[in-house]
Amino acid sequence: MIPDDLRYTKEHEWVRIDGDQATIGITEFAQDELGDVVFVELPPAGSRIDANAVFGTVESVKAVSDLFMPLTGEVLEVNTALVDAPERVNEDPYGDAWMIRIRIGDVSELDALLSSEDYGRFIAAGGSES
């Protein structure tokens, strides 16, 4: 359930790197923790957002979670389909439910992302830092 062609964060985002661009979404683990997703709020295309800053929120029936930028970058494209069909986050977190596509602003930040093995170990240990 943890695709090995992606990179990850401890905030449970996944990142697909494609040249100087990256696609970002939330992981299977994250959607399962949230439960039925009912609302997704994403930034407008064109925004520049720093790494670790909040770029949106995901709401479920019982929880709400901020989305943190894994990398600094400019938002190129936003998956607006999620506004009308937030349930896709539960159904296909690594595919249909990608959230934003960005132009990577600082490649040196890539080093801080987790590999699929590291992320797997992280969630096996509970999936939180405290």
């Binding site: 009912v38 609302f39 709401e59 479920s60 029936v61 019982k62 929880a63 709400v64």
Partner: protein
């Protein structure tokens, strides 16, 4: 104690089943030094009958036989017997917040009906499930406008109920919001010129009340335009909701620039007893695109797993139990039962009854006002249109006030407590509840 079923024998049996010797042992986790170790110093227990006697005596100290023409945010309206009868059903009043929709459809559907009535009356798309009262609803409306615009400056009409303004002030000053006041004209309405000159691109919202604290009806549609020109919102407060039986709701226009953005208010006029000022029922209503910014609970329509219509608390991620410090409000317990009172009253009134009620208020207040103008030496202030309240400046305030009081008539509310320039002015409220005999007593006292 009659409310506690456990007998001594029950207690002993339960203690022995859980392996304890005494009730005291159950409190071992409270350090001895922190235990009270003496009986509370409060009056000894009363039986039901002496309790009733005690409260009857106190209720009797309140001069309920005085004829009062007080309004100013709390309105004496008639309440049909069915309201109290229905809200006295245990099924309603001894239930908790409807967290388990399968066994709370009664409460949920009734709140959904309340939300619909408030939306219809105000002309807005959606209203919430209630807030504490009109004054806190106005404060919440102001915080909501701040969230939406990100701006911190508010222009608030002085003719907004002063106690409401004080509450807004209390809420807003700790968040760094500033509240500037806008004056009123001779007709009692907001000084639009002053307002127009002061709205700019820093202003989060213009805040007005209609009918305002002098009873004067504002043209909220005209007030929306200067606000909107600068990207500010219009927040309208409605303290006398019965006025919506005859007046357009602030959302009732097809021209977006003339529509209020947030309408808050107090629905006490619909079926809720005055009860010395509370509990009453606040509400907040807004446009479709802003429902996620609403404070407080919302009931939505949905389906159960068999596809039947069912109601359920919804958009809960706005609220404190989920969003905690980022919630749109800290409110949890609201005024559900009072909202039910209003819903029942509105259902009983229907469109015809509501209109009759509103017209009776308009006509009777206008009639009393005319008579005061023609039959007494006192002067009517503010000539703008009104619903059921007006202001009269008394000739010889002390003498007139005392004379009326001695006759058992509380002629209105002296406005000087809030408006130093309105010395000797009295805010008079006349509703369907006042009989012609009450009116004659008032006039006789005023004329003498």
């Amino acid at each position: 104690m009659r409310y506690i079923p456990a007998s001594d024998a029950d207690r002993r049996a339960m203690l022995s089943e859980i392996g304890k010797n005494s009730v005291r042992q159950l409190f071992d986790s409270i350090p001895d030094t922190l235990q009270l170790g003496r009986p509370l110093d409060i009056p000894h227990a009363r039986d039901e009958w002496s309790l009733l006697e005690y409260f009857e005596r106190l209720a009797g100290l309140n001069r309920r036989h005085a004829v009062s023409f007080l309004g100013a945010g709390v309105y004496p309206h008639r309440i049909p017997a069915i309201v109290d009868d229905l809200v006295s059903r245990s099924e309603f009043y001894t239930a908790y917040t409807p967290y388990q929709p399968e066994i709370a459809q009664g409460t949920l559907q009734a709140i959904f009906e309340f939300q619909t009535y408030m939306a219809q009356l105000t002309g807005m798309d959606a209203a919430n499930a209630s807030l504490y009262d009109g004054s806190t609803a106005l404060a919440e409306g102001v915080l909501m406008a701040h969230r939406i615009t990100g701006r911190k400056r508010f222009l608030c009409a002085r003719s907004v109920h002063p106690e409401y303004r004080m509450v807004v002030e209390t809420y807003s000053k700790r968040l760094g919001l500033s509240l500037e006041t806008v004056g009123f004209l001779d007709n009692g309405r907001v000084d639009t010129e002053d307002l127009g000159g002061r709205v700019d691109d820093d202003v989060a919202a213009v805040v007005v009340q209609s009918p305002n604290v002098f009873g004067t009806i504002e043209d909220t549609f005209a007030l929306a335009e200067p606000a909107h020109r600068h990207g500010a919102l219009l927040v309208v407060n409605i303290a006398e909701a019965a006025s919506l039986g005859v007046l357009k709701g602030p959302g009732m226009t097809d021209t977006a620039s003339r529509r209020a953005d947030i309408v808050v208010g107090e629905a006490q006029s619909f079926g809720v007893p005055m009860s010395f000022g509370g509990p009453h029922v606040g509400f907040v209503a807004t446009g479709r695109e802003r429902v996620r910014q609403l404070p407080g609970r919302l009931v939505g329509e949905g389906r159960d797993r068999d596809g039947n219509r069912a109601f359920v608390l919804t958009l809960a991620a706005r609220e404190q139990h989920i969003r905690r410090e980022k919630a749109t409000s800290n409110i949890c317990t609201n005024q559900s039962l009072c909202a039910l009172m209003s819903t029942i009253h509105l259902a009983a009134l229907g469109p015809a009854g509501l209109r009759d009620l509103a017209l009776e208020n308009v006509q009777k207040a206008a009639y009393v006002r005319r008579r005061i103008a023609s039959e007494t030496p006192h002067r009517i202030l503010f000539d703008g249109a009104r619903f059921n309240e007006f202001v009269v400046r008394l000739d010889d305030f002390e003498g007139t006030w005392e004379r009326l009081l001695a006759e058992g008539v509380v002629a209105g509310l002296p406005l000087v407590r809030w408006f130093p320039e309105l010395e000797d002015a009295l805010l008079v409220c006349v509703t369907e509840q006042h009989s012609m005999e009450h009116v004659d007593r008032l006039l006789k006292g005023l004329a003498a």
